[in-house]
């Protein structure tokens, strides 16, 4: 049986045929999902996190958030309104696979009442922030979260 000819690259890596040497698995890029029904806020978040080494996706509402989270695992989900958590659903437990601590949920809203904050934290939300927020502080928080995860 003829052996398939392998092509040797200058760096020592081998492409095609033969046994390849064990290479370190490519590092998975951290993924962030931004959820808001307001395009402006979505863009504001997206642009302020743009220089971090992450892949950013956006969703326009709770249904799209569910679809995105079912399609792939995100490291962080930033939800810019409290409605998905206050309409009887339990998105955190629904979207976080059992035994995993991902995705981490950040909620940023205009609501400041103690009752809302406590309800959201009881729902499993990891961080609760209110508008107006500091973009630099949010970016630093997200960067620290991602560094901790990776």
């Amino acid at each position: 049986m003829r052996q398939k000819k392998s092509k040797r690259l200058p760096s020592g890596m081998v492409l095609g045929g033969g046994r390849q040497p064990m290479l370190p698995a490519p590092k998975r890029m951290n993924r962030i999902l931004i959820v808001s029904d307001e395009e402006f806020l979505r863009d504001l978040m997206r642009f302020s996190l743009a220089d971090l080494p992450v892949e950013i996706r956006c969703a326009a509402g709770a249904d799209e958030m569910r679809r995105c989270c079912r399609r792939g695992l995100f490291d962080l989900v930033i939800v810019l309104h409290a409605a998905p958590f206050l309409c009887g659903g339990d998105p955190v437990r629904e979207l976080r696979p059992a035994g995993l601590r991902r995705p981490v949920f950040y909620v940023v809203t205009w609501q400041q009442s103690e009752h809302t904050v406590l309800s959201l934290l009881e729902c499993g939300v990891d961080q609760y922030l209110t508008f107006p927020l500091s973009l630099r502080r949010l970016r630093a928080k997200v960067a620290a979260e991602i560094a901790r995860r990776s």
């Binding site: 402006f40 806020l41 504001l44 302020s48 220089d51 508008f131 107006p132 927020l133 500091s134 630099r136």
Partner: protein, 315 residues
């Protein structure tokens, strides 16, 4: 006659088709313009976010500003960003406003427009950092017949010249609504106004007292209990007395006092019911409610207390 009728039909058909085609073309142009505006808005927001997050001091360059509607998009982007964030470089935003003449542009728009459109431009001006002399340019609109124009002219005046804020609020002719008070508080939270609540609560002007109560509630200042009790007991405005009562309730302070019971007895039935509902939700004990409200309201609050307790216990 037989030849004229088909010709009339054909003429009508052609006119109808032309009208339909014109309408479709106009709609398509509008859609194209909306699409271009959305792209431009995203581009401006990107430029602005990058400039605010970097350490630069010079205003960035915003392309296509000569295009019709581009300046309005830039103003909207700036205002929305300022509303949603704190800590952006105020000096940089001030320089952007001055460099591109956005304050002059808004003043021109305010002068030329009327009604709600004018109120909208005034609201935008109120959120931009502008020079104090702008306060005098908008002061004339505070006497407008339109309530929204009046209020946003006041807001623009107090944000342009915060040193004169209390004087401007004191001379405002209409009592603030809850929404207007919240708008002023949002300005206050951005550090544009002073937060000395005692002179506000003791002021003879109703709007200043109203603002003082809102500040106490927003920041949960329990030291203001005595001033709030005085408003509950003696204030001539029942709405303000209710606000003070509700603030005491929101801060979970004891409500078994003679002056509170007296005011609750004098309150409008709808306000009494609102207060009762909020107290039951806030977890006040039935004996407190029993002391403050009449026997005929007992079944209502007992049902409320039961239902709220059930909600808490069964979760």
């Amino acid at each position: 006659m037989t030849a004229t009728l088909p010709m009339l039909w054909i003429a009508t058909l052609i006119a109808g088709s032309l009208l339909l085609a014109g309408g479709l073309a106009a709609e398509r142009l509008r859609q194209r313009r909306r699409g271009r505006d959305a792209v431009l808005r995203a581009k401006y927001l990107h430029i602005l976010t990058v400039a605010l997050l970097s350490e630069r001091r010079t205003p960035p360059r915003f392309p296509l500003l000569d295009r019709p509607g581009a300046r309005a998009i830039l103003v909207e982007t700036l205002v929305e960003t300022i509303r949603a964030t704190y800590g952006p470089d105020d000096e940089l935003v001030r320089r952007i406003v001055a460099e591109y003449g956005l304050d002059r542009w808004l003043l021109q728009r305010i002068r030329r427009s009327g009604g709600y459109r004018r109120a909208r431009y005034l609201a935008q001006l109120a959120h931009l950092p502008v020079a104090p002399e702008i306060a005098f340019r908008v002061a004339g609109h505070i006497s407008s017949r339109n309530r929204y124009v009046r209020f946003y002219a006041l807001l623009a005046r107090i944000t342009a010249d915060p040193a004169e804020a209390l004087h401007a609020i004191a001379s405002y002719p209409t009592p603030f609504t809850a929404t207007e008070t919240a708008e002023i508080l949002s300005v206050l939270r951005r550090g544009m106004l002073p937060i000395a609540y005692v002179p506000l609560l003791e002021s003879p002007v109703e709007n200043l007292r109203r603002l003082g109560v809102a500040i106490v509630r927003q920041f949960g200042i329990e030291e203001a209990e005595m001033q709030l009790l005085r408003i509950v007991d003696t204030d001539p405005s029942p709405e303000l007395a209710f606000e003070a009562l509700d603030t005491l309730r929101a801060m979970q302070l004891p409500l078994c006092r003679r002056e509170i019971a007296g005011r609750i007895a004098r309150l409008d039935p709808s306000l009494r019911k609102t207060l009762l509902r909020r107290m039951a939700a806030g977890g006040y004990a039935p004996h407190v409610l029993q002391r403050l409200f009449g026997a005929h309201e007992r079944p209502y609050y007992e049902a409320l207390v039961q239902s709220y307790k059930c909600t808490l216990a069964c979760r």
